[in-house]
């Protein structure tokens, strides 16, 4: 009976779908991990749900998860395009070439690629968040809070986006604590809970008592929770389930407003190619609640930095700053241009170790 019913529903859906298609906007998402990662993909999926909630019946959203950043991505994108999507968000850096390749074949479908820089066709936009602004805030907290003066950083891939975050966190930790050191471990994956947990364990063994991550899962949090006195920051999502220990604050990606705005633009027929790089000011980057584990004056200082970045009076990369090898980069009072930031492939002075190459 139930089977019959669902069969009939399916038949009805198939039959009715075609005429209804015209006023339903179909939005697809491609995920590198799964929404259950509690981090990066989770936040994109929250954005997707926000689109559904905002537009109700006028929109239909779909997603494919765990899509490898290779030929599989191109196939998934093509299938999405063929199945009548109007707008497709590809939410990982590694989908860059595939997004552009598929966009070339489907000029009527709009593509939005997260964190990339290639817009080879008029129907491709890119969007990203200035996570480094958030790093400035939590770097300040980290500098104050570390007792061993060793801050650990679990890094994914040595691309400018990640290197920017390491530099920003280090600069601001160093500013409040000249003895602070940064220990970086590269795991070469966005989402690999086992590797991320191993990296956290290795950092803690080296005496690190503050852990930051630029990977997608909550595994480093779970690892840090096992050791007394280690604090950590939520990455991409709030990870509030790990408060009060080890989570003391977080950097949250808030994609929902952007996704709603872009979906609206497709509905209105006003969609145009853009390159969006939103930060704290536009609300794309948010700082999660700073818990009571942080002393009030540290919290106040962190929030002051957040506020000064938001109102534009302060830039996270303000000179004087030298590159790691000692060559001058920014003069006193000079701030880094976006071009410099987007291609950043060097550590600032004081960080030890090499960027893998």
């Amino acid at each position: 009976m139930k089977l019959m019913k669902s069969l009939m529903t399916a038949a009805v859906a198939l039959g009715v779908a075609a005429p209804a298609m015209a006023d339903t906007t179909k939005v697809g998402f491609v995920y590198v991990g799964t929404p259950g990662d509690g981090g990066w993909t989770y936040e994109h999926d929250e954005g997707r749900k926000a689109v559904e909630e905002h537009f109700g019946d006028k929109v239909e959203t779909t997603f494919v998860e765990n899509v490898a950043e290779g030929p599989d991505a191109e196939r998934v994108l093509t299938q999405m395009a063929l199945s009548g999507h109007d707008l497709i968000f590809t939410t990982s850096f590694g989908y860059m070439d595939q997004t552009n390749a598929v966009a070339a074949k489907f000029p009527d479908i709009k593509f939005e690629h997260a964190t990339g820089y290639k817009r080879e066709h008029p129907n491709v936009s890119t969007y990203g968040a200035r996570f480094y602004e958030g790093r400035a805030v939590i770097g300040t907290i980290a500098g104050h809070m570390t007792e061993s003066n060793k801050i650990g950083y679990i890094a994914s891939f040595p691309i400018p986006e990640v290197i920017r975050g390491i530099n920003s966190a280090y600069i601001h930790a160093k500013k409040v604590n000249p003895d602070a050191e940064m220990k970086v471990i590269w795991v070469f994956s966005w989402f690999d809970p086992a590797k991320e947990a191993d990296a956290a364990a290795a950092l803690i063994e080296q005496g690190v008592d503050v852990i930051m991550q630029h990977t997608d899962s909550t595994a480093p949090m779970a690892k840090a929770a096992e050791t007394e006195g280690v604090i950590a920051f939520g990455q991409a999502s709030d990870m509030a389930q790990f408060a009060p220990s080890p989570r003391v604050s977080s950097i949250i990606d808030n994609w929902a407003p952007y996704y709603i705005e872009r979906t609206q633009a497709v509905m209105d027929g006003t969609w145009e190619q853009v390159d969006t790089w939103g930060g704290i000011a536009s609300g794309m980057v948010k700082i999660g609640d700073i818990t009571d584990a942080i002393p009030a004056e540290v919290k106040a200082e962190a929030m002051a930095i957040e506020a000064s970045i938001a109102d534009g009076s302060y830039h996270a990369f303000t000179g004087p700053l030298n590159k790691q090898d000692g060559t001058p980069w920014l003069a006193e009072g000079e701030t880094a241009g976006d071009g410099d930031l987007l291609g950043m492939n060097f550590y600032v002075e004081g960080i030890e170790g090499d960027i893998p190459s």
Partner: protein, 361 residues
């Protein structure tokens, strides 16, 4: 009482019947799983197995994609099956695949932006040699020092993926890529691009090579003394030795062939569908091929069919995610069931079921 009785000889009928029975059992068990997930089982099964082949909107695209996805799986699995038949376990095809891709791509990129007919063939040769040499490490360690080739070849996968990470950020990085990891895209370098032989068919050199490998393996196993030796070694190593098989040479041969096949698959993939060397271009083909080899009963024609079937579940699985919001994990469970049922059904090949108490002897 139900009991199993060993057949004197494996049943011919069941050898052919088990794969079909396994697919049917997977559909039933998978259907139950999908029903528990709140999806219409019939619709899911239809989307996975039928739509990629016959859906009016998708099939024109997904039928060729079936070849693209199955090609490397079949090519690697054919190579592996020779060794597996002889009891030589190369588990590290993924590593050989990566190294083959790196070596071939390096040759191609070294010539950039030159345009000449010989660049692509050179890349292919370099890819095969790369995979072959990577497989020679566990092979030589085994013949020389008696190490376990399963462990060594598997561990070398991790070495290879670190090599891949390293070259995508260093040696082979696209100089025009603004410091981002990943090589130049071969799709934009015609002399080195493994394009479709006939546009819109998915048929590229790698798929063609995979088909040729199926034929070659079939001839080798059935018509050639070497094939006889491989089968004999697997079935009875002692008898093989008496009949003049040189085990060390056979190990080197089987490992070498499987390594070269994996390397070829790697370079065809990286110069074609993947387009560029980057940190995560290897999508686990080397491991999936092991499943394909066993699903195909280590028989060349079986592997051909198994590769196509598994490719179908991948492509159909993505469609099911897209159209019904089925979680990716459910598709993986479904693929796992397929192998599980195949191995379970094997019981019927070697045993028959007897109902009732054992007869008094």
């Amino acid at each position: 009482m139900i009991r199993l009785e060993k057949r004197p000889v494996p049943s011919k009928l069941w050898t052919y019947l088990t794969p079909i029975a396994a697919v049917v059992a997977t559909m039933v068990a998978g259907g139950i799983l999908f029903a528990f997930l709140g999806k219409d089982p019939v619709e899911v099964i239809r989307i996975i197995f039928w739509d990629p082949l016959f859906h009016p909107d998708f099939s024109a695209y997904s039928r060729p994609q079936l070849l693209v996805k199955a090609g490397p799986l079949i090519l690697i699995a054919i190579g592996l099956s020779l060794g597996f038949r002889a009891g030589i376990w190369n588990i590290g095809a993924e590593g050989q695949y990566i190294i083959g891709a790196i070596c071939g791509a390096a040759v191609g990129l070294a010539f950039y932006p030159m345009d000449a007919w010989f660049i692509f063939p050179l890349m292919i040769i370099a890819g095969a040699i790369g995979g072959l040499l990577w497989a020679m490490i566990p092979a030589l360690l085994k013949t020389r020092f008696g190490t376990n080739e399963i462990l060594v070849s598997l561990m070398l996968v991790y070495v290879a993926s670190n090599q891949l990470a390293s070259v995508s950020q260093g040696l082979l990085r696209n100089p025009d890529g603004m410091g981002f990891p990943g090589s130049r895209n071969f799709q934009q370098y015609p002399a080195a691009y493994n394009a479709e032989l006939i546009a819109g068919t998915g048929m590229h050199w790698g798929v063609l090579t995979a088909f040729l490998a199926v034929i070659a393996a079939y001839i080798l196993l059935n018509r050639h003394i070497l094939g006889f030796q491989i089968r004999l070694t697997g079935e009875s190593p002692r008898a093989a030795r008496f009949s003049g098989v040189r085990p060390k040479l056979l190990i080197l041969f089987c490992m070498g062939v499987s390594g070269a096949a994996a390397g070829l698959a790697g370079i065809f993939e990286v110069s074609g569908p993947s387009g560029q060397i980057n940190i995560s271009f290897n999508a686990g083909y080397g491991f999936t091929a092991i499943i394909v080899a066993f699903l195909g009963r280590l028989h060349p024609v079986g592997i051909l069919l198994a590769g196509l079937l598994l490719a179908l579940t991948y492509i159909g699985g993505e469609l099911a995610q897209l159209m019904l919001g089925l979680p990716a994990a459910a598709i993986q469970v479904f693929q796992g069931m397929l192998l599980f049922f195949l191995l379970a059904m094997d019981v019927f090949t070697n045993y028959r079921i007897r109902i009732g108490s054992p007869e008094a002897a």
